[in-house]
């Protein structure tokens, strides 16, 4: 069970990193994009994308910044430079 969860987490992580390698995005934008591509692993649990994003940000894999978009302040995530170089 624990192994399955960890495997699922790894898959979700690589999916999020793949998305962010295309462009910087905010949480809802990521869910929307995944839904469009029929890859929404967060279906009916969209909130779970945030612990994943915050965890990746905390360990330095992702950076975040705030920016206005469509009349609201959004928290954008981007891949940290070192991670980009490794790819």
């Amino acid at each position: 069970m624990a192994e399955e969860l960890s495997h699922e987490n790894e898959n979700n992580e690589s999916l999020v990193l793949k998305l962010l390698s295309e462009k910087d995005m905010y949480g809802y934008e990521m869910i929307k994009t995944l839904r469009k591509r029929a890859q929404n692993v967060f279906e009916k649990k969209a909130g779970m994308i945030y612990p994943l994003l915050h965890g990746l940000e905390s360990d330095g894999t992702l950076n975040s910044y705030e920016q206005y978009c469509r009349g609201k302040m959004r928290k954008y995530y981007s891949i940290a430079k070192e991670e980009k170089q490794e790819e």
Binding site: Y28, K45, G47, H54, E57, S58, K72
Partner: protein
């Protein structure tokens, strides 16, 4: 929606992270509601579906709680305490040397302590203040920065004014102090001098309060820097102390402009500011020096910076006898006479606080001096790295300023210790090791620990305006 957020946040124990998490999730749900409405749902159904899409708030909350925990840099706390205890042992051992038996005696209240005891007392106070600063959120420092900085500058000015007045009443013939109100005033505000370094973290908060302003904010920031520099110079020829503070404030202002807190053309403004604070003072000092307008003490100081100075040559002389381990000896008259460095300390550098590193190298060997420099440098580097990693820009600017103040003082002290700069007027210190400013060193490290603690909790920007309860209710 609010019920979902509330339930989720109940699982996150770190209160400071609540606002940022709540805002992000609220924005997500609102976006989903808009999409649902555009697909033909009524408002109520749209919101219900959007919340359902988010999943179990308890599960998400527990997962977020694991990420958002206060970060405690245990390694740094242990290292800082270790440095203090190790420093105390060094102070005790140095005091036991026959050559340094002339060290002064310091009296604190009713407790009489020698230099080593006084150092230990300072270390204990420093550690308590460091832990206090760690517990107090650095946002509090920023919130009340203007009031505290103004109070500090005014207090120090009053203290200096009282000092002048007291001197007027001084009777040199009998070497007696005629008691006056000025003595009491000076004593009442005496805390302000040792606290003047606090202008560095406070200025970060002041700059943050000018966020969004243009040239008005820039001019106000420059006025704070000039006033801080003038006040910090004080009456005891503390130009070096003031210079270090001004450099730190200028670096903080530079980062603030670069991060667009103050909205002015970046390159032009930063270049103009640094030119203003380097070229003008250099030209002014050169002019005053050439025309002999400077006082004799200051003329000597300028001369000693670039030319030979007794204190510089004495430090070099001692260091010529340094061995890797243990004490060495210095040769005179082509090797005919050799004198142990242990016997030279007292006559060459005495009990001067500036020369702690020289003393350690001379008495215990270069290896130990190098080890101390490395540990202190590691603490400062940790400070820089953790502030660079923090998301919150205010923490980043405040932390950079604090660590820069320690780094510049450490570098200046090493120049003095190695005989490259004269120990002249300026009370130089090596952070955490010299008795002087040991409490300040720990206090600034405490601010860094506070920044590290909240590094994942605070967003890029945060509101630091002082609010009353009624204002909070309105908003």
């Amino acid at each position: 929606m609010e019920e979902y957020i509330k339930k989720l946040l109940e699982q996150v124990r770190f209160q400071k992270a609540h606002k940022a998490i709540g805002d992000e999730l609220r924005s997500h749900i609102e976006d989903q509601i808009e999409t649902n409405i555009s697909e033909g749902m009524d408002r109520e159904t749209a919101e219900k579906r959007a919340v359902e899409d988010m999943g179990d708030p308890v599960e998400t909350g527990i997962a977020l709680d694991k990420v958002h925990r206060p970060q405690v840099a245990w390694g740094v706390i242990v290292a800082a305490i270790g440095v203090g205890l190790f420093g105390a042992i060094i102070h005790f051992l140095l005091e036991k040397l026959p050559s340094s038996s002339d060290c002064g005696i310091n009296i604190i209240g009713n407790i009489t302590l020698d230099n080593a005891g006084y150092y230990l007392y300072n270390v204990v106070c420093g550690i308590v203040i460091m832990l206090g600063m760690y517990l107090i959120d650095y946002m509090m420092v920023a919130k009340y920065s203007k009031v505290v900085a103004a109070l500090l500058l005014i207090s120090y000015t009053i203290k200096n004014f009282a000092f002048y007045k007291r001197i007027e009443n001084f009777d040199p013939e009998y070497w007696n102090q005629i008691p006056s109100v000025y003595t009491s005033i000076e004593s009442f505000f005496s805390w302000s001098g040792p606290c003047i370094f606090l202008l560095v973290p406070l200025f970060a908060g002041i700059l943050y309060k000018y966020k969004g302003q243009k040239y008005k904010g820039l001019i106000k920031s420059l006025i704070w820097i000039i006033v801080s520099g003038l006040v910090a110079t004080g009456i005891n020829n503390q130009e070096f102390r003031a210079l270090v503070i001004v450099i730190c404030l200028l670096v903080e202002l530079t980062i603030a402009i670069e991060k667009e807190w103050i909205k002015v053309p970046k390159v032009q403004s930063i270049t103009a500011i640094w030119l203003l604070f380097t070229v003008i003072p250099i030209v002014l000092i050169r002019f005053m020096y050439d025309n002999k307008i400077l006082s004799l003490t200051k003329m000597n100081f300028v001369r000693s910076l670039f030319g030979p100075a007794t204190s510089k040559s004495r430090a070099k002389e001692l260091l010529s006898g340094v061995k890797t381990f243990g004490s060495g000896s210095v040769s005179y008259m082509g090797g005919k006479i050799t004198v142990s460095t242990l016997n030279l300390i007292s006559s060459r550098i005495g009990s001067g606080e500036c020369y702690m590193i020289t003393k350690v190298a001379v008495v215990f060997g270069g290896a130990l001096a190098f080890a101390i420099i490395t540990v202190v440098a590691a603490l400062i580097v940790f400070g820089f790295v953790s502030t660079a990693k923090t998301k919150n820009q205010l923490g980043m600017v405040m932390g950079s300023g604090c660590m820069l103040w320690l780094a510049i003082n450490a570098i200046l002290n090493m120049f003095i210790s190695f005989g490259m700069l004269p120990a002249y007027q300026y009370t130089s210190f090596f952070p955490f090791i010299s008795n002087h400013k040991v409490v300040a060193s720990y206090a600034l490290l405490g601010i860094i620990l506070s920044i590290y603690k909240y590094k994942d909790a605070y967003p890029q920007h945060i509101d630091i305006t002082i609010r009353t309860k009624s204002k909070d209710l309105e908003s």
